[in-house]
Every structure is written in C-alpha cells, then in structure tokens.
C-alpha cells in the first residue's frame, strides 16, 4: 500500500524536485488546501485513501523548510500548519473518551473530502476549458444585423390622476390666494383722527359706542372692526393725557370725556 510507504525513502528525483519547486514557487500556490492537494498528489494515491498523517508531516516539513528559506508565508499556511499539527497529535494519541467534539478521524475524513472535492473541481475546470469555445472553435455570425427598434408610444393615466385633475378644476375658486379685505376694516389711525375731531364737542361723559362712524354699525363685521379701532384709539388718547376713561363694571359700557 502506497500510503504506508515511507515517503522520504521512496522519493524519486522527480518527486524531490517537485518538493523543491514547491518552496521556490510558493507564490504560485494560493492556499493551504492547494498545497495539501499538490502534496497529496506526490503520494500517488487515491485521495480517499491518503494518509492524513503523512500529509500533515509533509506539510509541516514544507512550512519548516520554507521558513528556513525565509520565504514569506501567508498566515493561511501557518493556520493550516497549526491545525494539522493538532490533527496529527490527535491521530497519534489514543482517543480520549471524555473529549468532546468530532474525532480526529472525522476531521481527517473531512480533510480528505475537501481535497477530493478540490481535485474534482480542478478536473472539471480543465474539462470545461477544453470544450468547444465560442470564438475559438465555433463562431457567431460575423455580420450581425441590427434589429431596428420601432418605438410605439402609449399614454397612460390613472384613475387617481383623473380624479385629482377634476378636483383641481372644480375647486380652483376655493384656492384663491388670501387677500386682506380692506373695505370692511376701520383702522386705528382712522379712529384716532375721528375721535380727535369729535372729542372737543363732547362736554361730559359719553359712551364710546357713540363715536362709531356712520355706516359701521349695521354690518356686524364692520361694527366689530370699528369698535376695536375706536377702543384702541381711546386707550392711546388716554395714555397721551387727552381723555379720561370710565367703566362701571366688567363688560359694562365704556365712557370717555375730554380731560380738562
């Protein structure tokens, strides 16, 4: 059985050269599995029957030699080396019945599976690349005819568009911009002018409401505006010391008279 042979004794020149090449060409290898696969091939055995132990030894030896040659090793290689060293020790020692987790055999088997799978993918890739290739073995039409695109436009609108459009039209009037209504507003300036003119003629106390201008008492809107303006004007005039204010109680009529 080849897997029981001492590998280093049976190594041919070619094998040794290959091993050397591994070290020199270390950059050409991509990773631990890659290297393991190459090493396993030098055992010339069925991948399913490889001795993981031997493989581990070769790998570790490779990493040692590579280190000795001061070739920079990717962390991947060292991680795998550590893992293989662990696996090797597990394989050499009798199994510990108390130990949890997968057995060394399980791990070794999985490693063998991974190697076999990688090898299978390598072979599949080679088979794939050997197939009839477009542009090398088979050829497409040299003068392809452009397919002319004829554009046809359809228009769409949703029910929502339709309803919104209608709503927009029908409610356009409701959305008139807000404009201040000046015709129904009596300003404080107007009230001041008016009262300054009228106060001289009023002898004693007279109610504020009597100072409202004509035409501003019927319409509640106008009345409200005129009352507010006249009241504000009376406060201003009181402040300036021109008139006196009087109110008997809350919400009772307000009366004014000229200050003497």
């Amino acid at each position: 059985m080849s897997d029981t042979e001492n590998l280093f004794d049976s190594q041919t020149v070619a094998d040794r050269l290959q091993a050397e090449a591994l070290i020199v060409d270390v950059d050409g290898f991509e990773g631990p599995l890659d290297l393991l696969l190459t090493l396993s091939r030098s055992q010339k055995v069925d991948l399913r029957k490889i001795s993981v132990l031997q493989l581990a030894e070769q790998y570790l030896a490779f990493v040692d030699r590579a280190k000795a040659l001061r070739i920079e090793l990717a962390a991947d290689y060292l991680v795998m080396a550590a893992w293989l060293a662990f696996l090797k020790s597990r394989l050499l020692l009798p199994p510990d019945p108390e130990a949890e987790g997968p057995s060394a055999e399980d791990l070794a088997e999985h490693l063998a599976f991974q190697l076999e799978r990688l090898q299978a993918m390598r072979e599949a890739a080679a088979q794939l690349m050997a197939r009839d290739r477009l542009g090398r073995d088979t050829f497409a039409r040299g003068i392809s005819e452009e397919v002319e695109r004829v554009r046809k436009v359809t228009y769409s609108a949703s029910l929502m568009d339709l309803m919104q459009a209608y709503a927009r039209i029908r409610t356009r009037d409701e959305f008139r911009p807000y404009a201040f209504d000046r015709t129904n507003v009596f300003t404080m300036e107007e009230a001041l002018d008016r009262m300054r003119g009228l106060i001289g003629f009023a002898g004693g106390w007279s109610e504020l409401t009597t100072f409202l201008p004509d035409g501003w008492t019927a319409d509640p809107k106008r009345r409200r505006s005129a009352t507010a303006a006249t009241f504000a004007a009376s406060l201003e005039m009181a402040k300036q010391g021109q008139i006196e204010l009087r109110q008997s109680d809350t919400f009772q009529p307000i009366s004014i008279r000229k200050k003497t």
Binding site: F139, A140, R141, G142, I143, E145, E146, V147, E148, R149, V150, R151, K152, V153, T154, Y155, S156, A157, S158, L159, M160, D161, L162, M163, Q164, A165, Y166, A167, R168, I169, R170, T171, R172, E174, F175
Partner: protein, 221 residues
C-alpha cells in the same frame, strides 16, 4: 455532388485530394457566416485546404439557400449571407413606450367623464382655458372618448362622451362610479399636496353613500 466519384478516381490526387464538394460547401458556408465582411473567392481559396474550388461550392450553396430565410448574395466581387428581403420586417422590434398623459389631456378627459355628454365650449368653460384641438384628437385616437349626440341647441354642437375602452382602462363599470366632489374632498383629493396614495383608498370606500349624493349633483341631466 455527381462529380465526387470522378475526383476520387484519380489515384495521384487521393493523397492530397481536395475534400469532397459537399465538405467544401460546408466550409464556404461557415466562412461566409462567420466573416465580418463579404469574402472574395481568392480569400476563400486561401483559407480552405489545398485544391478546393470555392466557386463550385458556392454554386451548390447558393442553390441550397434558394427560397430560404437567408440567401447567399454577391456583393461587388465578394460573397456574403444576407436575410431574404421579404423577411426584413423581422429585423424590427416594436418597443412600446408608456408615457404619462399631459395635464391638459387628463383634465379634459376628467371633465368629459364627469359631465358627459359635454361640448367643447362647456369643457372650456369648466377648465377656464381653451382646449386645443390636439388634446381632443389625442383622446379620440386613444379611443378613450368618442363623439356623442349633437346638442339640440343653436349651432348643434357635437358632444363628447367616454368609451367602453376608457371604462375598461380605469376599471369602472360606468362613468357614474366616479367619485363625487364630496368624496374627493373626504379622500383628501382636494388637497393641493400630492396624494399619499393607497391610504386614501380606504377612505373612499367608507364614503360611498356621500359619493352618491355628490354625484347626483354633478350629473344634472
């Protein structure tokens, strides 16, 4: 094809015999198909094995493609494969592009849907702007509106109504299913803000009764 046995008869030529004419025909076929430009006889000869006669192969090939979907044609002094002229229509692909209907068209359509039968003057009155001829034409062409009865008023103006096509398009059983103003307001459709979309759909269903009243206002006959 008949010449084949003659060629193989000559013993001297068997060593470096040209491939049978059927094979040569295949070669010419492949060359013409794959070449990016029409190919001259000289070039075919150079590319084919020694002793080949592309001119003869071409005769056979041309015959083979007679009446087919592609033909072997002479282009200047070179040869090429081309689509049969009667099949040129296959080299077109119709792509349908969907565009949003213009605002003017949507508004006009909405007015027709809500007020049908409606005259152009009435549409203009409701919209507050003139309705361009193109807008009406577009809607007619899309078959979303059609002419209704003439109005029995002076000038007998034509009226417009929406079509079955329109109802199908908007999944409506009849134009009376269109929500009324009150419902539109309840659904937030009268808001000037853009609609949030799906959420308002629920509202609409709840307001069906109101919609009814709303519509009767709109559909004064």
């Amino acid at each position: 094809m008949n010449d084949e046995p003659e060629q193989t008869e000559e013993k001297e030529e068997t060593l470096f015999a040209a491939p049978p004419i059927a094979e040569q025909e295949r070669m010419v076929e492949a060359i013409l198909f794959a070449s990016a430009e029409p190919v001259r006889l000289r070039e075919m000869e150079e590319r084919m094995p020694h002793g080949c006669d592309p001119a003869e192969a071409l005769v056979h090939l041309r015959k083979r493609y007679e009446g087919r979907g592609v033909r072997v044609v002479k282009v200047g002094d070179a040869w090429a494969v081309r689509t049969a002229p009667d099949l040129a229509f296959l080299m077109q692909k119709e792509t349908v592009e969907e565009r949003k209907l213009s605002r003017a068209a949507v508004e006009t359509l909405a007015i027709i849907a809500y007020h049908q039968p409606v005259t152009r003057a009435e549409i203009e009155e409701i919209r507050g702007v003139a309705v361009s001829r193109g807008t009406i034409d577009q809607l007619l062409e899309m078959e979303w509106i059609r002419f209704g009865r003439r109005r029995m008023t002076p000038g007998r103006p034509v009226t417009f109504v929406v079509t079955q096509e329109f109802l199908d398009q908007f999944s409506l059983e009849s134009a009376r299913d269109l929500p009324g103003l009150k419902e539109l307001r309840a659904a937030g459709l009268l808001d000037s803000r853009p609609l949030p979309g799906a959420g308002s759909d629920d509202d609409e269903e709840g307001e069906e009764d109101e919609a009814q009243t709303g519509q009767s206002e709109l559909f004064e006959d």
